[in-house]
Amino acid sequence: MDGTAVALLVVFMVLGLISILSWKRHADRVSAFPQVARQAGLSYSEGDAFGSARVAFPLFRLGDGREVTNTMWRTSADGAVVRAFDYAYYTESRDDRGLMGLSTGMGLGLGPGRERETTPQRTYRYFTCALAEVPAVWPNLRIVPQKGLTRLVNALDGADIHFESGEFNRMFRVTCEDEHFAHAFVDAQMIEFLVATQGEFEFETRGRWILIAGKQQPPRGFPALIGLHDALRATVPDLVWQTYPQGPRASLDGGFL
């Protein structure tokens, strides 16, 4: 066997080992969910028990192949059914003689002729989310962590809302269609709560829903994420509950998506 063949063999073996380890890690993770849910007193479903990704958050409109898996949930003390779940989607980049193009996610592509010539490459993105409905209707408020260059770019567009904490302003970019709501929602205690999350999660309100989204968590992180959602709702200032319209919780099909 010459040197090239040996090198190829080693490469294939390393790739094979990486694939096996990756598969095993994934299998271990999936098999841990029922046990973690049982220990934490949560219900569990391998799939999307609630149609969670149908709620119209921007995250659930990105890319293609959107999938919700591993849903854990419970009814919290305030009556909210809080669910935590894995969410994934992919984006396609097309390599056409050195040109790269992103999929629009709406099947439009770059034109049929060009699509036949290209080889799509998929980039998967994985998240763990916590979602719950509140008995109120709130404007769309996004509190998104920002770091380094993103912060610089965000500072230039001037669309974000600033609050009384320098540390919070550096850690998060806040945008909202109703600035009064943003200031009512993000009071001093909420600022402290959000800063304590160290920029690991994105927070968003939309209609009757509050979403927390972050990097994919291990199974034991799911109950903690549900707890985080409970804590977030408990931190919502009284002013918000009193000022913005309240109503009974609606189902996903209740017309408030």
Binding site: Y126, E164, A188, P218, A224
Partner: protein, 192 residues
């Protein structure tokens, strides 16, 4: 023009841009401190508003505690009249906190007062207000810390000295009732 002149001109230009940026950041940080102070102030006022009701309720059960009521009322007036400077406000608020603690200690000697629904509600409101005061105070102090760091660090201290940006005072005040403290959030390490 020779390259040396261009280099010198470029260095001066960059120096002026850095100076302006540093100055503007001081202005912005100072405004942030003032904004966060106004939040502290409004939370303190919320507590001032609660005190007369609290005194009135306790008075209904503990008529012989006149000295305590007077000291609370006096401390409240003094705190309300404070000049809004963090150092003097801290001193006045701490006197008020001491008086409030004495007032709440009175309830221990009067079981009927402890059982009074209105008193329980006021205590609950006081705890909520205390939490809000402490949260606003921590944010104010965080802003002061960032600003003071820049006032004392090189080279921004040169800008601070040139334009009269002086270190600010932290706002330290005791709790009248046990507040819940700053939140701690810890999840498991992220997966892939």
């Amino acid at each position: 023009m020779s390259p040396a002149v261009w280099v010198a001109a470029g260095a001066v230009f960059l120096g002026v841009v850095a100076l302006l940026a540093s100055y503007n950041r001081f202005v912005r940080d100072a405004q942030l401190i003032d904004n966060s102070w106004s939040n502290v102030d409004s939370e303190l006022r919320r507590r001032y508003d609660l005190i007369p009701n609290l005194v009135e309720t306790v008075q209904g059960y503990a008529v012989h505690e006149r000295t305590t009521f007077e000291s609370v009322t006096r401390a409240r007036s003094q705190a309300m009249a404070s000049d809004g400077n963090a150092a003097s406000q801290s001193a006045d608020e701490n006197v008020l906190v001491g008086a409030l603690r004495s007032l709440l200690a009175v309830s221990e000697a009067y079981p009927e007062l402890k059982a009074n629904v209105r008193f329980a509600e006021l205590q609950e409101e006081l705890i909520t207000t205390e939490n809000r005061i402490q949260a606003a105070r921590r944010i104010f102090n965080g802003n002061v810390r960032d600003y003071n760091t820049r006032v004392q660090s090189v080279p921004s201290n040169l800008v601070a000295r040139a334009f009269g940006f002086r270190a600010r005072t932290y706002f330290e005040v005791d709790e009248a009732v046990r507040a819940t403290g700053a939140p701690h959030v810890r999840l498991g390490a992220p997966g892939r």
